[in-house]
Point group: C2
DNA sequence: TTTAAATAGGACCGGAACCGTACCATTTAG
DNA sequence: CTAAATGGTACGGTTCCGGTCCTATTTAAA
């Protein structure tokens, strides 16, 4: 059904939570799990991934935790999706060219590529900061696609 | 990775093929399988679904087959996705409100709904006719999102 | 120096979804 | 009557996904 995975969904939620609170810079996985209501092991797993991909910086040891590596307004939804789910692609042939035997005779491939880049571009205009704010958000997206 | 299912992918390909050829109105599943290189049982299954959903009209019996129920320019990619994969939704909470316990405190839900409707709208502007034509296509999409 | 609290990195597993096939019933032209 | 086609559905295999757990490493503080 053209879903993003739950991990990605949770990831965006967690980053938005980090962006939304004016609390201390560092959040532990436990804190975030408590505040969002998501299961701790899952939260932990996701934060590790996001840290490895450079969305978060991490501090190990006691009193450690995670913080946004950049300003929330500079992290796009598209970036987070790519970090969690791999390259953004609606069809197989975008990610793995050559796998499909119909590829050279396929008449829809180019158009899929175009749709794909358009959708991707739309998601690039939405920042984590905007995702967390209840209204007056998604200005760029609204403006761009009307 | 935000993929559409292979069935949906094939479905769009098959409809585009129907749109592209100026041949007879009626195509049998076997013909379409041969011409696209897709396995016959799969093609058959997809065509049945598309017929049930009203994208195709079918003629049973000998000399039977399938034909587009409308002009290819009036069938959108979004419609086909909906016919094959169910309602277009990037997150679970769009399709099944109430399933997520975080729903009432979730701060990103509304923004997901907006993104969702934007992407959906983009796919509504692309017709099957456009998907099949190699260039000068996707005019609406290009114009709308620049 | 010891201890507790954190992250880092995997391994693991049960279940669900997906891809593809096959079977049988029904329809229809010749 | 027969052959060719769709209609509907059931079934198996395989992969992917959501979720948990375990161990190693790091670090602040007692």
């Amino acid at each position: 059904m053209i879903r993003i995975s739950k991990e990605t969904d949770y990831g965006i939620l967690l980053l938005s939570h980090l962006a939304g609170t004016s609390k201390s810079l560092l959040f532990s996985a436990r804190e975030l799990a408590d505040e969002t209501g998501l299961p701790l092991p899952m939260v932990s797993k996701i934060l590790k991934t996001l840290a490895r991909r450079g969305m978060l910086i991490s501090q190990r040891g006691s009193k450690g935790g995670y913080a946004l590596s950049r300003s929330a307004s500079q992290i796009s939804v598209a970036e987070v999706i790519a970090a969690m789910d791999g390259p953004f692609a609606m069809t197989e042939c975008i990610v793995h060219p050559g796998d499909c035997r119909q590829e050279h005779t396929c008449r829809v491939r180019h158009n899929w590529a175009r749709i794909n880049s358009r959708v991707k571009r739309a998601l690039e205009t939405v920042s984590i900061a905007e995702m967390g704010s209840p209204r007056e958000s998604l200005v760029a997206l609204e403006a761009g696609m009307n």
